[in-house]
């Protein structure tokens, strides 16, 4: 089986392509690649380009990450540089991390 099922679906909301937005995207992509490679989907939405979606999703400020899968939906806002804090905030506990008990 080459194709893996998507277990994690994240949506990143940013405002314009500022330095902060680019950093947030890089950090989140790196986190996904490291934590759950081949099992995630990451979508980026610029709220200035898609104001209707931002309104529908009640995006108050950015960068906001919405965890759409696994359910239930959770969202975090702020600094995405600290992997542990991001994972904790999104209540994600990847199998790899959980499975590596002792050494």
């Amino acid at each position: 089986m080459l194709k893996h099922a998507v277990k994690y679906r994240l949506k990143l909301y940013i405002t314009d392509h500022t330095l902060r937005s680019r950093q947030a995207l890089e950090q989140l992509r790196k986190l996904c690649e490291e934590q759950f490679p081949h099992e995630y989907e990451l979508e980026v939405v610029d709220v200035l380009d898609h104001p209707d979606e931002a309104l529908a999703q009640h995006i108050l400020a950015t960068p906001t990450v919405v965890r759409e899968l696994p359910h239930p939906i959770r969202r975090i806002i702020g600094d995405l540089s600290d992997v542990d804090k991001v994972l904790a905030g999104l209540a994600l506990h990847p199998a790899a991390a959980a499975g590596m008990g002792g050494k």
Binding site: D16, L48, H58, I59, A61, P63, I76, G78, L80, G89
Partner: protein, 657 residues
């Protein structure tokens, strides 16, 4: 007490929101409502998100409906709310500060990356900052010049007065711009185009001076090459037609002042064509060079020998005491030509016929002198060649012609005898029509098609050019808009302007009115001025040209290369396009001189980032040369002759499919 605390939190100058463990807003104070541009109670229950910060604080963006966004600095602390875990997010509006920082970063990027050198000094003239382009141009590293005075770049080519005038300008209007020669670290001196501005502090005294410059040595070199090519004949190194005209004009001005006479000699070699045909072009060229040398040795130091082209030479004899003086020179020339020329192993015998006109006796203007000397030369030929003749007055019914022309022209407009034709300007690379030049035609009821060269000067002399010029402009704009309305691909229409039109103070308003009336967007209108008009009347026209530019109208210089191509004017005037004069294109296939001039004009245009159009392109090999030398656009019979508005629509429509 609780009420007091509540009020303090409510009125706090920062946004305060309380979030539950899922990041949903449980409380928001008044300031947070302001920050998100909604009522504070609308925030309750909103999924703000679980706040994540690493370290002290983190910036978040707050998008706004108008497409802009604010920035808030967020700090987070843990707390309890109604007995369960909760978070306090403290949000401080830092929008103005962050936006200012961003602007600064942008300015710095421009400073670091621009191609133009920048030097900033303090009020006392000490260098406090330079950019990488400064180092690239001057060769000095930042650390070598910081704290020093920009004087270290002085070339020594300008005197005290130059710098005094420069500083006087800066003091008077806060700014100076112009050409200045400076010295690189390696000792080489070079020209710069420089713009110096004083930046004032609070007290009024300049706090900083900012100089922005670009190295124009390449442009300058092109300009000098062009200047040389434009004024001297490459084959014989004699003054060409342009410089000849200038020298003649000067000689007449001086003679007028001093009450002297000026002799003008026109000569051509008898049966030169025969020599060319039998011995070849190379021999012909060598012969012309040798003739030039003999002519120069036959005249006085103050005389000018020029080559008008082909085997036509001319001699200007300033400060002549009597018409007879010209005969002495003519005799000397005939004498000098009598010895055989040794060319390619052959003794070649050449004779010449000389025509003489004398100011003010047989001509009081350059035009009449040239015309009369030319006519006298033909008289000399008729007399059996190898001699000289003075111009003799014959019957002159010219003035009558002129009167009739003027009379007819007065009614031409109202009788609808004037019409416009349009000649395409084509992008060489793609063959696409990018513009058309509107050309005026007069169908005279009796005399048929009268060439513009004949009736335009009459229109200018009589003032009829104003109503005719306005009609042309309106007609051209109307036609162009009609093409666009017909769904044809939009193109520019170029209209020739006369200096008389530009002298009209409200000319720009008139153009605006015409654009408004016809509905044509200004960017589809281009105005063309000849180089000589542009240079001679730069001072009076520059204001109007900039007004036109600010409206979006484009400016093109016609007949470029035939006049006094001055970089200063090119840089000061809002020029978009240079049109290479057809006379250069005509000779581009065989004449090295024309090739060099065309090449130099293209190089100059490209280095100034101007569009360049070759006029009068008639053959594939001319086009080949232009393509090879990166000429952008071309115009001429090879692509299309001037067409009526309807025929041009058909051509445009055909190109569409």
């Amino acid at each position: 007490m609780v009420a007091a605390l509540h009020k303090i939190v409510e009125d706090a100058p920062d946004g305060i929101v309380v979030l539950n463990a899922e990041g949903v807003v449980r409380y928001a104070n008044r300031m947070s409502g302001k920050l998100f541009r909604c009522g504070q109670h609308d925030l309750l229950g909103q999924p703000f998100g679980f706040p994540v910060t690493s370290g002290e604080a983190t910036d978040i963006d707050i998008p706004r409906e108008d497409g802009s966004w604010g920035v808030a600095e967020m700090r987070v602390a843990q707390t309890e709310w109604d007995g369960v875990d909760a978070y306090i997010a403290l949000l401080r509006d830092v929008t103005p500060r962050r936006h200012a920082e961003q602007r600064l970063q942008l300015s710095d990027k421009v400073f670091q990356n621009t191609q133009e050198g920048i030097v900033v000094t303090d009020g006392a003239g000490r260098i406090i900052s330079v950019n990488p382009a400064f180092t690239a141009v001057t060769g000095y590293l930042a650390e070598e010049v910081l704290g020093r005075n920009p004087k270290l770049l002085k070339s020594g080519r300008h005197d005290e007065d130059f710098y005094r005038a420069l500083w006087a300008d800066i003091e008077a209007c806060g700014q100076w711009q112009g050409e200045i020669w400076n010295r690189r670290k390696n000792g080489e001196i070079y020209p710069e185009w420089m713009n110096i501005s004083a930046v004032h502090g609070r007290v009024g005294e300049p706090a900083y001076y900012v100089a922005v410059f670009s190295d124009i040595s390449l442009v300058k070199k092109n300009e000098e090459r062009l200047h040389r090519l434009a004024h001297y004949d490459a084959l014989t190194d004699l003054p060409n037609r342009v410089l000849f005209a200038d020298r003649l004009h000067q000689a007449l001005v001086q003679a007028q002042r001093g009450g002297e006479q000026v002799g003008l000699l026109f000569l051509d070699l008898d049966r030169f064509k025969l020599i060319n045909d039998t011995l070849g072009h190379r021999a012909g060229d060598l012969l012309l060079q040798e003739v030039a040398r003999r002519l120069e040795t036959s005249v006085r130091a103050q005389d000018t020998v020029g080559r008008l082209g082909g085997d036509e030479f001319t001699v200007i004899l300033p400060d002549l005491r009597s018409p007879a003086g010209a005969a002495n020179v003519a005799e000397k020339i005939l004498e000098a030509m009598s010895a055989p020329f040794f060319i390619c192993g052959h003794d070649v015998f050449v004779t010449t016929s000389i025509g003489i006109a004398v100011y003010p006796v047989t001509g009081d203007s350059p035009e009449s002198l040239i015309k009369h000397a030319d006519m006298a030369m033909y008289q000399a030929k008729e007399q059996g060649r190898n001699n000289f003749q003075y111009y003799r007055r014959g019957g002159d019914d010219q003035s009558r012609d002129l009167f009739e022309l003027e009379h007819g022209l007065r009614h031409a407009l109202e009788r609808g005898e004037l019409r416009l034709v349009y000649q395409p300007e084509v992008e060489i690379e793609t063959g696409r029509i990018v513009a058309v030049e509107a050309l005026l035609r007069w169908d005279h009821p009796l005399r048929g098609d009268i060439p513009p060269a004949e009736f335009i000067p009459v229109a200018e002399d009589t003032g009829l050019i104003a109503p005719i010029g306005e009609w042309v402009l309106r007609e051209a704009c109307m036609q162009n808009q009609a093409w666009q309305d017909a769904g044809l691909p939009p193109i520019r229409v170029a209209v020739n302007l006369s200096v008389r039109q530009l002298r009209h103070v409200r000319f720009a308003e008139k153009v605006a009115e015409i654009l408004d009336d016809t509905g044509l967007d200004a960017k589809w209108l281009e105005v063309e001025l000849t180089e000589s008009v542009m240079m001679q009347h730069a001072k009076e026209t520059v204001g109007i040209l900039w007004q036109l530019k600010s409206m979006g109208v484009r400016l093109s210089i016609d007949d470029f290369g035939t006049g006094y191509s001055s970089l200063n004017y090119l840089k000061r005037l809002p020029v978009d396009t240079l049109k290479i004069d057809r006379s250069f294109i005509e000779g581009i296939e065989q004449d090295a001189n024309d090739q060099a001039i065309s090449d130099a004009i293209i190089a100059l245009a490209n280095s100034l980032r101007l569009r360049v159009v070759a006029e009068g392109v008639e053959t594939e090999s001319q086009l080949g040369f232009l393509r090879e030398h990166h000429c952008c656009d071309a115009q001429g019979f090879l692509f299309s002759r001037p067409l009526s508005g309807d025929d041009l629509s058909l051509l445009l429509a055909r190109k569409l499919h």
